[in-house]
Amino acid sequence: METRPFLEMKGISKQFPGVKALNKVDLAVYPGEVHALVGENGAGKSTIIKIIMGVYQRDEGTISLNGEEIHVTNVIEADKLGLAAVYQDLTLAPDLSIGENFFMGQFPRKKNGMIDWNHVYEKTADTLKALNVDVNPRLRITELSPAMQEMVAIAKTVHKKSKLVIFDEPTALLSNEEVDILFGIIKKLKASGVSVVYISHRLEEIFTICDNVTVLKDGQHVKTLPVKDTNESQLISFMVGRSLSDMYNIEHYPKGDELLRVEDLNRGKILKDISFNVRRGEIFGLFGLVGSGRTEVVRAIYGADAIDSGTVYLNGQKEIIKHPSQAIALGIGLLPEDRKHQGLALSQTINHNINLASYKAISKFNFVLGKKERERSTESVKRLRVKTPSIHQLVGNLSGGNQQKVIIAKWLCCESKLFIFDEPTVGIDVGAKQEIYKLIEELTREGHAVILISSYLPEVMGLADRIGVLHEGSMSHIVEREQFSEETLLRYASGL
């Protein structure tokens, strides 16, 4: 490793109205180094990235590249200096093709000044192929799965041949296969002397590919140290300020009667003869590769999508669920995978979102009992420890983990008996994750049932009592806890 860092930030501070997002933070990244940045939700990781890229301007501090101080005021300048970033929120234009997104802002021109479309699509196809991403560059972003969108965003950034590449939570939406592809890419970058900044809430990833790690807490620099000199629990205690016990160590309670039984669920080519049951007090995991149909299974049960055939029994009673309202009335709650687009009314208050699905219970003649509404919200906010100054805060202003808690609170208010969690911990910090796990534990203790979908294998394996493995729309295997092993599950998921 060279002695002079490629990027050096000293004493960086950034104030947002009401929030000191960064307070005198230092960061140094050397050529060929993969530098991890970790911290709780809202610690200021994304803010640092945006300051490097010139999206935000720092209030104080210095940034230098190769020892030379720089003042980047916009993304174009950053690009010219060889800086590139994959941002946390997908920053693709959904109506445009992959190729256009690749070249957005810097289209190649023909001699006559027009865009060279052939070049755009050929180059994009080449890049994608080189990165092992198999997709037609003329497809529009809306036609891609979220994971594929993330891969496109990654490919778009990486192909620029920058000197510093920043990844802000790239794996949140990815499954193992794509994570492997990404790690391959990062290794190549490192080998060619590029500096990499890597942000993730999945700590074991840090130990797989990073050289050094910087921990942030509440906008302040806590520690920078080589990865080999530390371990997960130490990192967690730096991040959270206390040590957490084993993440997945939850109590498994005795199972009660069968609550849900699904028989021969079919929907086009997406779901084929799905059958399984869930008992009270049980955590039923659904595992599969991206696009295997896990989300579709629970949406079908929930009445969010129409099904071709199949029967659903609740408490042994046959039920026909055609609209989410019926599912809710039967005591089913769904925490959807895409919380921004499906889970929350972002421009509304916490108070409104928490009560959204259960106004009937706190109203008289359709008039909402405002006091009860607020009491319930206040209680939920306390119970789930949602970090907010007020229940009248807009949900859009909360950090990801706290948004997730608001959705859970919504279903707690419905007195649901079956909770469906579709990717509940995406983008959530370890502390919040553990709180959600504890909550799941608590739900099962009270005799509720949980269906848990996660692309993150350790999570499903750690929590579930049984796991149904999906492959291309059919549930080939249901594995008991005793038989859990990464290898078996992945094998089943790949259809082998």
Partner: protein
């Protein structure tokens, strides 16, 4: 009371507008000798109430993330239908009910097309704006309908306790819509729907019912405005309401409603409607050239929204 800070902030947003309205009123009181007279204030209220009522219906539509361009034509429908019925000898009360039902039905058709045809609200209601006006013209032969009973035309002239009757109707609509938006499940659902329709659906809200009901409500309130206008003018007027959609939308948006849905308040819209009338009334009292006044109206609408944006960003 930290828990309530957000609520106060909301009040502040309307407060901005209230400040603008009050400043304008104070200026007018000094600049003209007649602004601050009982008579003129009464006129002001009367002049605002028709647009005021339509704008309240529009507020629901806008909160739901839609837009309703057909309100003006529906005002015309109400005017002709009630006039035809009354002239045909029907008693006042059933005639009013039928006119409101017809207008509500036209609104429901808007909602139906938007919900089931997946036609964008702008286009669905633009089509209705054309079609409903055509129907009005066809029904009335493009002619005014005279000979309405005195009992009906007298209503708009009444003054109770110093306030014109139209004001009471408007006030009643304000109260009802205020309660609907702030106190009922229906109101909560519209906000959720406008903010994120998919999240609303997955939370068990019947989104089709919301779509149908906001447009129906807008139709009914436009109908009510049309009936009041007919009472005031004493005739069924086929051209009634032309161009009113713009005033109604402007009132709601100046009042803080966002065309992307999920926000808007009744009080804001009331103030927005008042502001627009106030500019017109003030301009007339000051004897400003009609064309310059038109320019001022345009500039002030933009300026008030701009000012509100500035306040918003510096506040948060």
């Amino acid at each position: 009371m930290k828990l309530f800070s957000k609520k106060n902030k909301l009040r502040l947003a309307e407060g901005n507008l209230l400040v603008i309205v009050i400043i304008l009123m104070v200026i007018l009181s000094f600049a003209t000798k007649n602004f601050f007279t009982v008579n003129n204030l009464r006129n002001l209220v009367r002049q605002t109430s028709v647009n005021g009522i339509i704008a309240l219906g529009m507020t629901f539509v806008i909160i739901s993330g839609g837009i309703d361009l057909s309100v003006g034509s529906i005002v015309g429908v109400a005017s002709i239908v009630i006039a035809k019925l009354l002239v045909g000898g029907m008693p006042i009360f059933p005639a009013i009910i039928i006119a409101l039902v017809v207008c509500g039905a036209l609104g429901a058709v808007n909602g139906f097309i938007i919900q089931y045809g997946k036609v964008p609200p702008f286009i669905a209601t633009l089509g209705m704006m054309q079609a409903a006006r055509g129907i009005v013209m066809l029904l009335s032969n493009a002619r005014m309908i005279a000979g309405l009973p005195k009992a009906f035309t007298g209503f708009a002239q009444l003054v109770f306790a110093g306030f014109p009757s139209l004001f009471f109707v408007w006030f009643l609509v304000i109260i009802v819509t205020f309660i609907l938006t702030t106190k009922t499940i229906f109101g909560r659902n519209i906000f959720a729907y406008g903010s994120n329709i998919e999240a609303a659906r997955l939370s068990g809200i019947n989104t089709a019912a919301v779509t149908l009901s906001v447009y129906t409500l807008s139709g009914i309130l436009s109908g009510l405005a049309g009936i009041l206008m007919t009472s005031r003018l004493g005739n069924g007027i086929p051209t009634a309401g032309q161009g009113y959609e713009m005033d109604a939308i402007a009132s709601a948006v100046v009042g803080g409603a966002s065309l992307s849905g999920g926000s808007g308040t009744i009080i804001g819209t009331v103030l927005g409607a008042l502001l627009i009338s106030l500019i017109q009334n003030g301009g007339n009292l000051l004897g400003i050239n009609a064309f310059i006044l038109q320019i001022i109206v345009g500039v002030l609408i933009v300026a008030s929204v701009w000012y509100d944006q500035i306040r918003k960003t510096t506040k948060s």
